[in-house]
């Protein structure tokens, strides 16, 4: 296994707090919810596992048990939605057999198409990269059943991406503003500073 400190991108002399922050940022970045509708969902899951293991190992090495319970459960694989009317379709999507999944879904008559049907259709399009179609299907699924956490998560996630508000990027504090808001906030701060300076002079 790789050096756990390298995996988290921190030095071995980092404080517990720094490690926790690095772990949180990475966990946010690789969170399964971000990649649920991406063809790279499995790669992200592997990364997440690696980060979790690295964090656990560091905690263990530092003999500080209080951190290790931090992520359990909250950053799992996220597939806790067991009730499904389309197990085959979900299996196909997970295995990347998008055309087969689409064929199965298209075989279902119009009258039987429920919110999950629209959600899975959106999932297939999203994994293909056909974002616009994916968005309208997710939207429909959400409108038909807003109380379903899976549908609302997918829809909200996509809305965030359509405003270019990526989890794990804006929050990582990398100095490069991703969204207009960041730039605006930056400008405001800079403006305040300038004002303060000019008054001081």
């Amino acid at each position: 296994m790789n050096n756990p400190y390298e995996v988290l991108g921190v030095s071995e002399t980092a404080t517990d707090e720094e490690i926790k922050t690095a772990y949180r940022n990475l966990a946010k970045k690789y969170h399964p919810d971000n990649y649920n509708d991406s063809p790279l969902a499995d790669v992200a899951e592997e990364k997440m596992k690696e980060v979790n293991e690295a964090y656990d190992r560091i905690c263990e090495m530092r003999r500080n048990g209080s951190h290790s319970s931090y992520h359990t459960g909250s950053y799992g694989t996220g597939n806790s939605y067991n009730r499904t009317s389309y197990p085959d379709v979900r299996q196909y999507i997970m295995n990347g057999r998008l055309d087969d999944a689409m064929e199965l879904l298209n075989g279902i008559p119009d009258t039987n198409r429920d919110a999950e049907w629209y959600f899975l259709m959106g999932m297939i399009f999203s994994r293909k990269g056909w974002n616009d179609q994916a968005y309208s299907y997710f939207q429909r699924a959400y409108q038909m059943d807003p109380s379903n956490p899976e549908f609302s998560a997918a829809f909200n996630n996509m809305n965030a991406r359509r405003t270019y508000n990526n989890p794990g990027y804006n929050t990582a504090g990398n100095g490069m503003g991703c969204s207009g808001c960041d730039i605006c906030t930056g400008m405001l701060c800079a403006n305040c500073l300038c004002n303060c300076c000019s008054r001081g002079c």
């Binding site: 616009d132 991406r161 991703c178």
Partner: protein
């Protein structure tokens, strides 16, 4: 490709900009070396990005040497050693895509431009032939894209995703191809890296296609040409454009996030997080301003 994938110089460090410029100049020299001194004129930012992405995958960073620019003898350039195939691949992609773009332009340009295109076509064709011999996959991929694009545009029920798919697929294949030719640095694994690059390439290809469509919207509207944003009548077109572009860029960034960071991370992020965002804001603002005055 259309030259939208460039860096935002104001937000780059000096050394980063120097490294990027070095890649740009080396690709220019490679075009001259592999094809002809005139082939240097088709140098594009998109292919520079492609070369940078390829170099990012290599174990060894390129070594730079100082030289003089062929076109401006007063300008000093930094040329990288061209042992890696990164530059040769990017040069081949440049000439092949330039050839097909020219062929496409021949179909829908005014007569005076067509004469010019006809005159230069034999040169482009011979460069393309040479490049296709070296990298048949690139030629196949780009020519397939042109055919599929034409097919999509002629389809009565064409939707936005379908129209963007040929360009996106082509770039996805091109990015995936890098893993076949470039020996990957540690700890990259071929399978995963290929998938990550393909997915990133798809999203970037989609973004390139859509931003070009946004840019050409007024012209296409006037001339009744095909444009994916004119397929259905949207109420708030600027917002729809923005959402689709954001989504594609965001997907590219998410895919790239899975790749282990390396030497050009800050430049690649500059392109995706700053430059592309600025370009799309600038282009879309044309339409939102127009809409505001209408209201």
């Amino acid at each position: 490709m259309f030259g939208y994938i460039k860096v935002d110089q104001a937000n780059l460090l000096g050394k980063e900009f120097e490294a990027y410029n070095g890649i740009y100049c080396t690709l220019c020299r490679q075009l001259g070396k592999d094809y002809s001194v005139f082939a240097r004129l088709i140098l594009s930012y998109d292919c520079t990005f492609y070369a940078m992405l390829a170099l990012d995958l290599c174990e060894q960073p390129p070594c730079y040497q100082e030289g003089r620019c062929r076109f401006n003898p007063f300008k000093k350039c930094h040329y990288a050693d061209t042992q890696s195939l990164a530059f040769s691949l990017a040069a081949a992609l440049s000439v092949i895509s330039a050839y097909y773009k020219l062929r496409d332009n021949l179909l829908d340009s005014p007569w005076y431009k067509r004469i010019l295109y006809r005159l230069v076509q034999p040169f482009f064709a011979s460069w393309r032939k040479k490049a296709a011999k070296k990298y048949p996959e690139i030629d196949e991929s780009v020519s397939k894209m042109m055919d599929r694009q034409l097919e999509a545009e002629q389809d009565q029920n064409c939707i936005l995703d379908q129209a963007a798919d040929p360009t996106a697929t082509m770039l996805s294949e091109m990015c995936g191809l890098l893993t076949e030719y470039i020996p990957l640095r540690e700890p990259l694994q071929k399978d995963n890296t290929k998938r990550i690059l393909q997915s990133m390439g798809y999203a970037m290809g989609r973004w390139i296609y859509l931003i070009d469509a946004c840019d050409d919207l007024e012209k296409d509207q006037k001339r009744h040409n095909f444009n994916p944003f004119l397929l259905d009548h949207r109420v708030d077109l600027p917002a729809y454009m923005q959402a689709n572009l954001n989504h594609a860029l965001s997907d590219a960034l998410l895919s790239y996030g899975l790749l282990d960071k390396c030497r050009y991370d800050s430049i690649i992020r500059n392109v995706l997080c700053v430059s592309c965002v600025n370009i799309q804001t600038k282009i879309i603002s044309k339409y939102s301003d127009a809409k505001e005055t209408e209201d």
